[in-house]
Symmetry: C2
Subunit: 203 residues, 2 copies
Amino acid sequence: MPKGPTKRRPETLARLLDAALDVFAERSFYGASIEEICDRAGYTRGAFYSNFTSKEELFLALFDRHSKQTLDDLTEALVRATNATDPGKALTEWASVRDPDERRWYLVSTEFSLYAARNPETAARLAEHEAQVRDRIVRILELLFEHIGAKPPVDLVMVARLATAIREGGILQSLVEPDELPVGELERQFLPLFVRAVTAGIR
Amino acid sequence: MPKGPTKRRPETLARLLDAALDVFAERSFYGASIEEICDRAGYTRGAFYSNFTSKEELFLALFDRHSKQTLDDLTEALVRATNATDPGKALTEWASVRDPDERRWYLVSTEFSLYAARNPETAARLAEHEAQVRDRIVRILELLFEHIGAKPPVDLVMVARLATAIREGGILQSLVEPDELPVGELERQFLPLFVRAVTAGIR
DNA sequence: TCCAACGAATACGTCTCCGTATCGGATACG
DNA sequence: CGTATCCGATACGGAGACGTATTCGTTGGA
């Protein structure tokens, strides 16, 4: 008695998640209705309730899917950094090079942070993910210092926090002023500069 | 025929705005009901509809009120910086010193950015405010360089953008992990370091 | 003191969305 | 080929929020 999804289920699930990303990006989480998500996916609410129990659950599932993707990307960047002459570059590239239509995701993920800020349980989940992300970044930074043969003058975890703060803050500005500040521009300009700052007075 | 508020109106308005900040922070913009805001303020919806035409308008009014406050704060920081020996300090302090229970506002303002990202009209309004904020910051930075007698090696407007990005990104992290990362901690640690980085190779 | 204008309360109809309970069709399997 | 299970569709009842139309009380001026 295989309890797992048989055939249609995974497809339905994926299409619901895709539609959810769309609608959440357009209308925000609370503004989105389950009905519109189902419509957009080509189903009725029946499909939704046989796959999820609530909008919250769908939201979490969406986060999980994307967070796996992000970690894979970053792990690959780590591998590349290991073999590269300039590990800092791998970090900068990861931060700045992105699919333009990821804008949808930026909207949703920022809102997910707000959602987490109001839900301790979700916050823990998000915090764990971000810790994993930071871990990759820290390892890249370690490679960087190893490469120039010096001891880090500051806590690398905080540096990683700073890197993601710059990234998230930059994204927020990009969302509001897409013309003045393209996504990734801030990182492109300042992450290298910052890496230099952190390594300054060492070499 | 004085059309302006006579007596009760300003009081009512202020209490509605206060309550709105509360409820928006708790339930998010779309999650908040007009009714709950009115209840919390001690009124019925009648009061609301005689002061606003929609929830959106209330949201904008809330933003305007706080944005005046922010600009005043920052202008004062600018004045202090003008007379101080270390202008960078004024900037860092402005960024890090905040009322702890401003957490409510951080939640709402971040959501306001998301709202603006979806509404070009609102985005323009927000962009203008942020431009004014940046203007103050740029002037502080100019003082900084004047003080050490050097020409800025990078575009100061971008540096100001970076400063607010660090601030906003840091706040976002603080909201999710209030224990690991108190509000303002990131700025406290890194803004000085960054100021040093920007001025490095000059003096 | 009276009255006009204003501001908040009340009452009503509507609409959207939600969740459940039930049904029908497809699919996997013997 | 038949059947049991799974999955999505349909149908229903209900709750909550919205916006308006109207009423009531208060305030400030004549």
